[in-house]
């Protein structure tokens, strides 16, 4: 057992990280709260002072707020459904024996390592461009004269598609790892009893995956609430912007610090609802 002296040293060794993280997590948050109640516009430096709740009032009244809130939820929801369903299927597939499993695994995981700015521009230009894009070419092959202008007509779908492509490997990799920890004996027993594949999946695999799926959903939600580069770089912020993008544009285009801060707080509240669940789940598994 650790001695009293070691305990004291341990506390000391912990201090730098704790101070760094406390400063990093509390100070910006406190300042955001501070700014949210302030009249503070970078273009209008003379107009200062206490703003009460008016920043929140105008932020909620902004027509973009409701639109971007809905966009945020749609993006998070659609990507999660796609990646979890696709991830389960991919994980089940990769868990089977076939030739070249290692290589397929590498091919499949690759999108996760691509930086968001690259995948946005590659998808927007090389794949989904209305004239020269690959999808337009395929459509013409089937006789379409007016190929779909993906980002012009369906900006939200296009963003969701890119983001799903990036996060599908994540879900699949995590679920595959979970699947591989499934008890061999249970598998054998099910095979011995001649359980049909569907009921084997439903009664044994799915309950085993319930927890990892929840974790994937929670972690993805936290990261997907913050999607930014995909929207900024493909310049669809006006149509498919989310809350993160709205905060950015309040700061950058409207230069209204107070309003942007109010928006930031809304994003914090949204994320906290999710992370409360996630922290609880992580805590149960944590042996410390």
């Amino acid at each position: 057992m650790a001695t009293r002296q070691a305990q004291a040293l341990g506390r000391l060794a912990l201090a730098p990280s704790v101070i760094a993280l406390a400063a990093w997590s509390f100070v910006p948050l406190a300042l955001t709260i501070y700014f949210a109640f302030l009249r503070y516009n970078l273009q209008d430096p003379d107009n200062t002072g206490w703003a009460g709740f008016s920043n929140f009032y105008y932020f909620f009244k902004d027509p973009y707020f409701l639109k971007d809130l809905i966009n945020t939820l749609l993006l998070v929801g659609s990507v999660i459904v796609t990646t979890v369903v696709g991830g389960v299927l991919l994980a089940l597939l990769l868990d089977q024996p076939f030739w070249g499993r290692g290589i397929v695994r590498l091919l499949m995981i690759s999108p996760f390592f691509i930086m968001p700015t690259v995948s946005s521009l590659v998808w927007k230009n090389l794949i989904m461009h209305p004239v020269f894009g690959l999808l337009a070419g395929i459509q013409r092959l089937f006789g379409a004269h007016q190929p779909i202008d993906w980002f012009g007509t369906y900006p939200r779908f296009s963003v969701a598609l890119i983001v799903s492509w990036q996060w599908l490997p994540y879900a699949a990799l995590i679920l595959l790892t979970a699947l591989q920890s499934l008890d061999e004996e249970q598998k054998d027993a099910a095979a011995m009893d001649g359980a049909p594949p569907l009921s084997y999946f439903y009664h044994i695999v799915l309950p085993h995956l319930a927890r990892p799926i929840t974790v994937v959903i929670l972690i993805e939600t936290i990261f997907l609430l913050n999607i930014f580069a995909e929207i900024k770089v493909t310049s669809v912020g006006g149509f498919a912007g989310n809350l993160t993008y709205l905060v950015f544009s309040q700061l950058n285009d409207a230069t209204d610090v107070g309003m942007a801060a109010a928006g930031g707080l809304v994003a914090v509240v949204l994320a906290n609802i999710v992370s409360a669940f996630l922290v609880r789940m992580v805590g149960k598994n944590l042996e410390a």
Partner: protein
């Protein structure tokens, strides 16, 4: 009979799996191919692979026009320095949590008391700001206000039992960047808008916008929770007796950490570094918001291609491939170790 069926099954599975794998990888493959074509060929559909003249000139043009080497240098500086700084902070912290864990909170105050103290300190800060007309009158007042708030918050986190402390650290990773963007942007900003009124010191002379002084610590803080978390799980696997034996033999704390623990945990530390490398290499939100020239990393470099001038696909592809190739290869090699860090240990 069973054997024959299983061979057929394998063939079908192989076909399906390869189709899906290739489909998912296709955008990357397509980009890689376009990078070696001439501009006009890159736009041609359907592609004719046999007659296309392959060329390397795009890579040269990208370097010439947008100075790729400077951006990859910036990225490397940010990634490497922030990883080293992160390890420097995280190794002692993870050591302390893994080998000298605190089973009980060291302070006797309840959670509600702490909440009240922290909220009270926040209110005091607000009152201070109110009476100084919403702007700290001078640097001293500003720093005092900052300390009034940070000290209780740090103390609260510091006196948690190890279990809760670790959870708290992980939870800082879950804070949305939109919530921190405004203050960080203003603190980093060239004009020093937050602090410019501070009497005897003009902080606007020391702006860290678009500099390594800002980006490296920021990137460290972004990934510190994950580094600590991963190191903690690896350290847990090392028997505590070995460290105690070193201590019995009179090893100092530094020797215990640097000569005993670090060499033993080297594989774990390596995969922690790899995950950190991948995460900071691909980081886009802060890079796009806080850099534009001097410290701009590769994600910014690529985003410059979003406003096209003339035919640019082959160049865009070449630039993209140059930006992703190093990290893609690293990712392939370390994919098995990544799961641990990517789920905060919630999946085993």
């Amino acid at each position: 009979m069973a054997r024959k069926q299983s061979t057929r099954r394998t063939i079908v599975l192989t076909a399906v799996a390869w189709t899906i794998g290739i489909l998912l990888f296709f955008p990357i493959f397509w980009t890689a191919v376009a990078a070696f074509k001439t501009e006009s060929d890159a736009y041609t559909l359907p592609q004719n692979f046999l007659t296309t003249p392959w060329t390397l000139e795009n890579f040269g043009i990208v370097q010439e026009r947008s100075d790729y080497l400077r951006y990859i240098f910036n990225t490397s500086v940010i990634v490497i320095l922030s990883t080293l700084l992160g390890l420097l902070l995280a190794i002692p912290a993870a050591w302390s949590m893994a080998f000298a864990p605190q089973a009980e909170a060291t302070s006797k105050l309840s959670g509600w008391t702490w909440l009240a103290i922290i909220l009270a300190s926040l209110v005091i800060c607000f009152l201070g700001l109110y009476f100084t007309d919403w702007k700290p009158a001078n640097a001293f007042v500003g720093i005092v206000l900052l300390l009034i708030f940070v000290v209780p918050a740090s103390l609260w986190a510091w006196t948690r039992r190890t279990h809760d402390g670790l959870l708290w650290m992980l939870s800082t990773k879950m804070m949305p960047p939109a919530g921190a963007l405004i203050p960080i942007y203003l603190i980093f900003n060239r004009n020093g808008l937050v602090f410019k009124d501070w009497g005897w010191i003009n902080l606007s002379d020391y702006n860290i916008m678009d500099s390594f002084w800002g980006m490296v610590p920021l990137m460290t803080l972004l990934n510190l929770p994950i580094i600590i978390w991963m190191l903690f799980t690896y350290f847990k696997e090392i028997p505590v007796g070995i460290l105690e034996a070193a201590r019995m033999d009179g090893a100092s704390l530094w020797n215990e950490l640097a000569r005993v623990l670090t060499p033993m945990a080297l594989p774990g530390i390596a995969s922690t570094c790899l995950l950190n490398l991948i995460l900071s290499w691909n980081e886009a939100f802060w890079s796009l918001n806080l850099t534009n020239k001097y410290a701009a990393p590769l994600s910014f470099f690529i985003s410059e291609y979003s406003s096209p001038e003339g035919q640019f696909w082959a160049k865009l592809s070449a630039a993209s491939i140059m930006a992703i190739a190093p990290i893609l290869v690293i990712g392939w090699f370390s994919q098995k170790q990544l799961v641990r860090g990517l789920t905060f240990g919630a999946v085993k």
